[in-house]
C-alpha cells in the first residue's frame, strides 16, 4: 500500500468522520439533557436522573398539548388520506374533462401557496369566521395544504394497480363501491399507509399554522407549547424543554423507521406480469 493511497484513505476517513460529527453532535443534546439533573444549554455528560420526566409530566400543559397534537394530526391525517384517496382514485381511472390541467394546477398550488405566503389571509379568514382556537378548523387547514401533494403521490400509486383487477371484479358483478373496497384499497395499501404516515409527520411538526391559529395555551399542540415554554418567564424552562422535546420528537422518528422498514416493497402477487 503506497503512502499516497494511505494518505487518501485517512483523509477520506477523516472527512466522513467530520461530516458525521457535524450532523450528529447537535442531536446529542437530546440524548443527554433530558436525563440531566442540572441541564444546561450545552452538551455535557449528564448527571443521570429521571426527575425531569416527572416534572414534565406534572407540567400543567405538557401532556395536554400532546393530546392536542394527536387530535390535530388525526384530523389532518384522516381528512387528507380519505379525501386524497377518493380524489386520486377518480383521477387515475376516469378521464374527467380538464383532468390534466387540474393535476398541473394542483402541483403548482402545493409549491406556491406555502404556509408563509398564505399566513395572513388564512389568519384573517379564520379570524372572521370565528374559528381561532378551533382544533378541527386548524386540522382542516393543514389538510388543505397537504392534499395536492397527497393526491399526486396516491395517484401515482393507484396508477400502478392493474386495471384488470377492477374489470375482473366488475364482470363478476361488483358495484363500484365493492370494487373500491374489495380490490383497489387493499392493493393500494402500501401507498395509503405511506400517505398516512407522511401526513401525520407533516402535521405533527407543523409550527406556523397552530402558532397562528391556536392562541389559547390549552388548545396548543406540542409544537407550539414547546416554544411557549421558552418564552414564559423570559428564560427557557430547561427542566422541561429537553424532556418534552424528546417526547415530542420520538413519534416522528418511530413512524419514519416503521414505514421505511415495512413498506419498502411493492405488491406484485396476483398478476402474471
Amino acid at each position: 500500500m503506497t503512502f499516497s493511497l494511505m494518505l487518501r484513505r485517512s483523509l477520506y476517513t477523516v472527512l466522513i468522520a467530520a461530516l458525521l460529527a457535524f450532523f450528529a453532535i447537535p442531536m446529542l443534546w437530546l440524548a443527554s439533557a433530558p436525563f440531566d439533573s442540572d441541564p444546561g444549554v450545552g452538551l455535557r455528560w449528564p448527571d443521570w436522573t429521571l426527575d425531569n420526566w416527572r416534572i414534565t409530566f406534572e407540567h400543567p400543559y405538557a401532556l395536554g398539548s400532546l393530546v392536542n397534537s394527536i387530535v390535530l394530526c388525526a384530523v389532518a391525517t384522516i381528512v387528507t388520506t380519505a379525501l386524497g384517496t377518493l380524489a386520486s382514485y377518480a383521477l387515475s381511472r376516469v378521464r374527467i374533462p380538464g383532468r390534466d390541467a387540474l393535476l398541473y394546477v394542483l402541483l403548482l398550488l402545493s409549491s406556491v401557496v406555502t404556509g408563509t405566503a398564505a399566513m395572513v389571509p388564512i389568519f384573517v379568514l379564520m379570524l372572521q369566521l370565528g374559528l381561532i382556537n378551533s382544533q378541527y378548523a386548524t386540522g382542516l387547514v393543514i389538510a388543505g395544504g397537504m392534499l395536492p401533494a397527497a393526491i399526486f403521490i396516491l395517484k401515482d400509486f393507484i396508477d400502478t394497480v392493474p386495471r384488470s383487477y377492477e374489470e375482473s371484479a366488475r364482470v363478476f358483478g361488483a358495484s363500484p363501491g365493492q370494487v373500491l373496497l374489495h380490490v383497489v384499497l387493499p392493493v393500494a395499501r402500501p401507498g395509503i399507509a405511506t400517505i398516512l404516515v407522511w401526513a401525520f409527520v407533516q402535521a405533527w411538526g407543523n409550527f406556523l399554522l397552530p402558532f397562528l391559529l391556536l392562541r389559547d395555551v390549552a388548545e396548543q399542540p406540542a409544537a407550539v407549547l414547546l416554544r411557549t415554554l421558552r418564552d414564559e418567564g423570559g428564560s427557557a424552562n430547561l427542566t422541561v424543554i429537553p424532556a418534552f422535546s424528546l417526547l415530542y420528537a420520538i413519534p416522528v422518528v418511530a413512524l419514519y423507521l416503521f414505514v421505511s422498514k415495512r413498506y419498502g416493497f411493492r405488491f406484485h402477487g396476483g398478476i402474471k406480469a
Partner: protein, 292 residues
C-alpha cells in the same frame, strides 16, 4: 392499443363526486387565500383600531409603501442571502459532497451517515431550533465548548451566518438523496473510463458526472430555494433579531401582521412573495417537463 377509460365503471358523475371534497378543501384553504390576499393587500386592514372594523380601500398604497420601506428591503436582501448561502451553495454542495463521498463507503458507514443526515431533516423544526440554540449558546453552547471560546454569542453577533449553517444542516438530506440517485444513474463505464485515463476526483466530477446531472442541479436548486425562501424556522432561532438583522421575509411578514397588526400591508407583501413563488415554480415545472 387498449384505451384505458374508466376501468372501474365509475362514470363521470361519480368521479366528479369523488374529487369534489378534496377540491373544495384545496379551494378553500389554498386557492381562496392566495386570491384574497390580493384584495386584503389593497386595503388598510389592521388587527386592532378603527381600520379593523371598517377597513378602507387604499389601492396600491401598500405596495408603494413596501418599496420605500427599509425593513422590507432589508427582509428581501436577507432572504436572498439566506437562500444563496444555505440552499444554492450550502445544501447543494454538502448534499452533493455527501452523495459523492458515500458512494464508495462501506454500506454500514453509508447507512449510519445517511441516517443522521435524514434525522436532521425529519425532526420537527421546533426541536431542531432548540438543538441549535443549545449548540450556539455563548455560555454553555457546544460550539464554544469545542472552540474553547466563551465570549461569542453566535446567534446575536452572527445571526445570518448561524442561520445559514443551521439551514444547511437541516435541509441537506433532500439534496443528498437526490444526488445519490442521480449519481447512481451515471453509467459506470464512463466513470471507469475516466479512472483508467487517470482523471482525478475533481476532473471526473467536472467532465463525466456533471454533464449527466446538470439538469438535476438546476431543478434541485430551484426547489430548495423556493422552500428556503418560504421557511419560517428562522423565527424560532432568532425571531428576526437582534434588531432585524436576521429578519427574513417570512419573519417580516409575521411581525408586520401579528406583532404590528398591519394586516393590509403584510398581505401585500405576501402577495409579492406568492408571485415570486409562482415564477420559480413555473420555471421548475417547465424544466421538469423539458427533461421528461
Amino acid at each position: 392499443m387498449r384505451r384505458a377509460r374508466d376501468s372501474a365503471g365509475l362514470g363521470v358523475a361519480r368521479a366528479i363526486a369523488f374529487v369534489s371534497p378534496a377540491l373544495l378543501l384545496v379551494g378553500l384553504f389554498l386557492v381562496f387565500p392566495a386570491l384574497w390576499t390580493i384584495y386584503i393587500g389593497l386595503t388598510d386592514y389592521t388587527l386592532t383600531g378603527p381600520s379593523s372594523v371598517a377597513p378602507s380601500f387604499t389601492g396600491l398604497t401598500n405596495f408603494v409603501t413596501a418599496l420605500d420601506d427599509a425593513l422590507f428591503g432589508n427582509a428581501v436582501w436577507l432572504t436572498l442571502v439566506f437562500v444563496l448561502g444555505s440552499a444554492v451553495l450550502g445544501q447543494n454542495l454538502l448534499g452533493f459532497a455527501l452523495a459523492w463521498v458515500l458512494r464508495s463507503a462501506r454500506p454500514v458507514i453509508r447507512r449510519v451517515v445517511e441516517a443522521f443526515v435524514l434525522l436532521a431533516w425529519i425532526l420537527p423544526s421546533v426541536v431542531v431550533a432548540y438543538l441549535w440554540t443549545a449548540v450556539l449558546d455563548r455560555d454553555g453552547g457546544t460550539l464554544n465548548a469545542l472552540l474553547g471560546n466563551d465570549s461569542t454569542a453566535w446567534l446575536v453577533e452572527y445571526p445570518m451566518a448561524s442561520l445559514i449553517i443551521f439551514n444547511t444542516w437541516r435541509g441537506t438530506a433532500f439534496s443528498m438523496m437526490l444526488y445519490s440517485s442521480a449519481l447512481a444513474a451515471v453509467p459506470p463505464s464512463q466513470l471507469e473510463t475516466a479512472r483508467t485515463v487517470g482523471a482525478n476526483g475533481w476532473q471526473t466530477v467536472r467532465d463525466v458526472v456533471f454533464p449527466h446531472i446538470r439538469g438535476h442541479v438546476l431543478t434541485n436548486t430551484l426547489l430548495i430555494s423556493l422552500w428556503t425562501a418560504n421557511d419560517f424556522t428562522p423565527f424560532l432561532l432568532t425571531a428576526g433579531g437582534p434588531n432585524h438583522e436576521s429578519e427574513t421575509l417570512p419573519v417580516f411578514i409575521y411581525q408586520q401582521a401579528i406583532a404590528n397588526g398591519e394586516l393590509g400591508y403584510s398581505a401585500a407583501v405576501s402577495f409579492l412573495l406568492l408571485v415570486v413563488n409562482l415564477l420559480v415554480a413555473l420555471l421548475y415545472l417547465l424544466l421538469l417537463r423539458r427533461r421528461a
